[in-house]
């Protein structure tokens, strides 16, 4: 796809110093001058919150919810007693909390304003939609510019709208679960999201409906100093099945950008939700996301989480296993390159008998990159037949790369079983030597070895994503040896 040149405003940093990071970032590294009709200004106050709520024409209870959340956010300390001090570099007064051209997403790409449409075309979204998606929502800064669901899927009663529409048009349905999985005060950033949330998807899949193709959301940050706070709630009714994919990119600005989403999943009896993320934010984005699901009886929630971009990602997808035989799974891949800290992990809270959870996390640290695994597994008293398996493997490529592992596992009683294993290693020299001896360059050999390291996880991604993932890793690995 040829990049448009006419109104290319904020000049994307051309060739960056680091050829490794540079190549990968180019795909999302561009931005356009967009005239925003709605702008909450810079900084955060009660007025900001009131402004957002009023332009969205929200019900009074939502405004009240937002204002309460703002108070909570302001009263909570930064979690730097366990998290990285880099969080202190976020200047909440310099962030723009709401930017949009309107609150109503378009149903066809033709209606989408040209500059925004160009962005998504360049990212390949309309093309993917035609090829293999059941529905797409494309969020540009604060609001979805486009949102559509295939007619056959809509006819089955599936609701796929953005959060503004969801709360306005289906309050009885979403209010019941909204902020119930992740309460406002869960952490400082979930409180912030609750105060200023905008965008994100609201999905309801009726009883027994199995959505064959994935629903996709694409989150795009275009403006500098911007904070994106989408809020997603997915409800799969009894026996329903749905796969949701999200992708994210942003241009690389010299100032930092904040992305702080809240994602809540509810899988009712026997339902299955699969949530796939490929995060490829630019290296100036603070990506601080709270993701959690509740799995009722015999339900299954699976998070597939891939973090390649951002300056700092802190994300620990969780599952509360609330019903008997519920199952939770987190598959996580993280790649940390120079200037990046991927602080990711998983949280499994067992709250019923015979619940099982599985966590497989693999991280790769390249150059001066740092990857961290943090996990919580909690099996409280008087449960029986609960099982957890956790594996985390870290690969260190260069001598300045860093990796940390901080799991926390609590088990009560003698009727449950947990096991945790972690390993840290470097790429096997003999393997590299063997491949070089067969004519591969060291770089090619390294790429192959790293792809082999994550291969069993990458295979769980939908085909299009796993191909993309392999390509991204090849690019990230280029020039990283030596």
């Amino acid at each position: 796809m040829k990049p448009p040149t006419d109104t290319l405003a904020a000049p994307a940093a051309e060739a960056t110093d680091n050829p490794v990071a540079g190549i990968d970032q180019t795909k999302g590294d561009f931005s356009y001058n967009v005239a925003y009709a709605f702008d909450a200004g810079t900084g955060l106050s009660e007025d900001t919150v009131r402004y957002i709520s009023s332009v969205k024409k929200e019900a009074p209870w939502i405004l009240e919810f937002r204002l309460k959340a703002l108070k909570k956010f302001l009263s909570m300390p930064m979690p730097t007693h366990w998290a990285t001090k880099d969080l202190e570099n976020i200047n909440f007064d310099k962030i723009r909390y709401y930017l949009s051209q309107g609150q109503k997403p378009k149903r066809t790409w033709d209606e989408v304003p040209d500059d925004i449409k160009r962005t998504f075309e360049r990212l390949g979204i309309p093309e993917q939609e035609r090829k293999f998606l059941a529905g797409v929502e494309a969020q540009f800064d604060s609001e979805a510019a486009y949102s559509n669901i295939k007619e056959v899927v809509a006819k089955q009663g599936v609701i796929f709208v953005n959060s503004t529409e969801g709360l306005r048009e289906h309050p009885e349905l979403f209010k019941k679960f909204f902020a119930k999985v992740i309460p406002t005060g869960d952490n400082k950033f979930s409180a912030l999201n609750s105060a200023v949330f905008s965008g994100g998807s609201f999905i309801y899949v009726p009883k027994g409906v199995k959505v064959a193709q994935p629903l996709q959301a694409y989150f795009r940050i275009n403006a500098e100093n911007f904070g994106q706070f989408e809020r997603t709630l997915i409800i799969a009714d009894e026996g329903a099945e749905v796969t949701y994919m999200e992708g994210c990119t942003a241009p690389k600005f010299s100032t930092s950008t904040l992305h702080s989403a809240v994602v809540e999943l509810v899988a009712l009896k026997g339902a299955k939700i699969q949530y796939i993320t490929v995060q490829n934010w630019a290296n100036n984005v603070f990506n601080l996301v709270t993701k959690r699901g509740i799995a009722h009886e015999e339900a299954e929630i699976k998070w597939i989480d891939c973090n390649i971009g951002s300056r700092l990602t802190m994300k620990y997808p969780g599952v509360v296993l609330k019903g008997r035989k519920a199952r939770g799974e987190v598959i996580s891949i993280a790649l940390a390159n120079d200037g990046q800290h991927q602080d990711t992990g998983a949280k499994m809270v067992h709250a019923a008998d015979e619940t099982t959870s599985n966590i497989v996390a693999k991280s790769i640290s390249v150059g001066q990159g740092r990857s961290t695994y943090r996990g919580v597994v909690h099996i409280p008293k008087h449960l029986k037949g609960c099982k957890n398996n956790t594996e985390c493997d870290a690969l260190l490529i260069n001598s300045h790369s860093r990796t940390d592992t901080y799991p926390a596992i609590t088990v009560r009683g003698d009727r449950n079983f947990v096991q945790h294993e972690a390993s840290v290693s470097k790429v096997n020299e003999e393997m590299i030597f063997y491949m070089q001896q067969r004519g591969l360059t060291e770089g090619q050999a390294m790429s192959l070895a790293v792809n082999g390291f994550i291969n069993d996880l990458a295979r769980q991604f939908p085909m299009e994503y796993s191909v993309e993932l392999k390509r991204l890793i090849d690019l990230e690995m280029e020039g990283s040896v030596g």
Binding site: H81, W82, K381, H382, A394, L396, I397, N398, S399, H400, S401, R402, T403, D404, T405, Y406, P407, A408, I409, T410, V411, R412, G413, D414, R415, N416, F417, V418, Q419, H420, E421, A422, S423, V424, S425, K426
Partner: protein, 438 residues
């Protein structure tokens, strides 16, 4: 605010400035540098806050019961409870309430070769240079800075063991610490220094005579293995079941040296044990072992740090907990590999055997790796006795209770069998089995 007031009150608990002054006045003449250090330590202790619920270093620990109130410094006691290590010893030192109560001196031949088994009180005057070089030189890195300062401020006496270059001791040296007074505070201390190529085994025992006495124990054990030295250490903690115990254990391992330490945790109501291994030069190897039998409402809180500071070092940690009744255990381990510590081989494993419905085990096995050419792995499991193994034994006609006992002993055996000294192995096996049946 009353809250602020009460927390200010509990900063020193029973160990007020007056109590400290009285403690200093009660001591025999001591070198000025040591008195100076004690005063500085007291100031640190008094200034540092008590752990709080949000302290990462105290995650999962019960904070509310960490009180320093209601304790006093006990007087010497004429009683000396019988205690034996079940093995012939080269030398023995027994402390009661922190004062030397009995000693079996070293053979003259070993003394002539420069081996020292002495009290700290005596060593302050006769081996001052060595004491000054090694005593309490390990900073508390695992959360107990306040309690380590308290230990230093009130440390009265302890054991000093020194093995000079090339001397190898075949039989162990035994150190006993008894705490025999209700509400008494004990500050046991053992310092072991093995010079180049020296070899020594030390067994240390901590105990009370009465399991119903509330007590406080704030102890420290420091081991230094110089180039090519080998130290085997076994510590057995069997304080009163109403005691509150803090213990700091440090291994400092130099080139090609090896320290094997095994800590048995049996006593106390709440016991915090912080163990550090510092691998300072190539070829250093530290093996850190622990066995815990947690019963009733006991809480064992074990925090470990394996610090790899040089290339080609190795550490291997295995901590096993058997949990009965409503007991709680916490294991928090961290392997830190410095940037230039290439070729590190580090292992960390925590196994919890859940033997009751209400027991609770928490594991925090952590890694912080900054070198790329390393092999670091850790594992943690919590589970009950394997039903298949149980079934196998039952199918061979062994009653379920006997089968469970056998399997539990098998669980312990993996740790005990790491001891290369067979006599020591047998003695400990008997001890732990007796204790478990109780």
């Amino acid at each position: 605010m009353s809250l602020a007031f009460s927390s200010a009150m509990s900063l020193t608990g029973s160990f007020t400035a007056d109590v400290f002054a009285a403690h200093l006045a009660s001591l025999p003449p001591l070198p000025d540098w040591w008195l100076e250090r004690k005063r500085a330590a007291y100031a640190r202790f008094a200034a540092l806050p008590m752990p709080t619920r949000t302290d990462e270093a105290w995650r999962f620990s019960t904070i509310t019961s960490l009180t320093l109130d209601g304790f006093s410094l006990p007087l010497p006691s004429p009683a000396l409870p019988p205690a034996t290590i079940g093995l012939p010893a080269t030398a023995e030192l027994a402390f009661v309430n922190g004062f030397l109560a009995a000693a079996v001196p070293l053979a003259a031949e070993l003394r002539a070769r420069g081996v020292i088994v002495d009290t700290l009180q005596h060593a302050f005057h006769h081996h001052e240079a060595l004491i000054r070089e090694y005593l309490l030189k390990q900073t508390a890195r695992l959360g107990s800075a306040k309690f380590s300062a308290l230990h230093e401020a009130f440390l009265t006496d302890g054991a000093f063991i020194y093995v000079p270059r090339g001397v190898e001791l075949d039989q162990p040296i035994a150190v006993f610490h008894h705490s025999l007074t209700a509400n008494g505070a004990a500050f046991p201390h053992t310092l072991i220094v093995a010079e180049d190529l020296a070899r020594v085994t030390v067994l240390e025992y901590f105990g009370s005579s009465d399991d119903s006495q509330a007590q406080l124990a704030v102890g420290a054990t420091d081991l230094y293995a110089s180039h090519g030295a080998q130290i085997t250490y076994v510590g057995k903690q069997d304080w009163s079941h109403r005691a509150l115990s803090f213990h700091a254990h440090a291994n400092v391992v130099r080139r090609d040296a090896r320290i094997q330490s095994l800590n048995l945790h049996l006593g106390a109501r709440q016991a915090r044990h912080e163990a550090l291994s510092q691998l300072q030069a190539p070829g250093a190897f530290s093996e850190m072992l622990a066995l815990t039998v947690a019963r009733e409402n006991q809480e064992f809180d074990q925090r470990t740090l394996q610090l790899h500071q040089a290339p080609n070092t190795k550490s291997d940690l295995l901590y096993k907990n058997a949990l009965l009744d409503e007991a709680r255990t916490i294991f928090s381990g961290l392997i830190v590999v410095d940037q230039d510590a290439q070729k590190t081989d580090a292992y960390q494993s925590n196994r919890n055997l859940m033997l009751s419905e209400a027991a609770e085990a928490s594991s925090l096995p952590g890694l912080e790796i900054q070198a790329n050419d390393v092999r670091c792995t850790h594992g943690a499991t919590s589970s009950r006795i394997d039903p298949e193994q149980e079934f196998y034994l039952q199918s061979r006609g062994i009653a379920k209770s006997a089968a469970d006992e056998l399997l539990t002993f098998g669980f312990f055996e993996e740790v005990l069998s790491r001891l290369t000294n067979e006599d020591l192995h047998d003695a400990l096996r008997t001890l732990i089995q007796t204790k478990f049946k109780k």
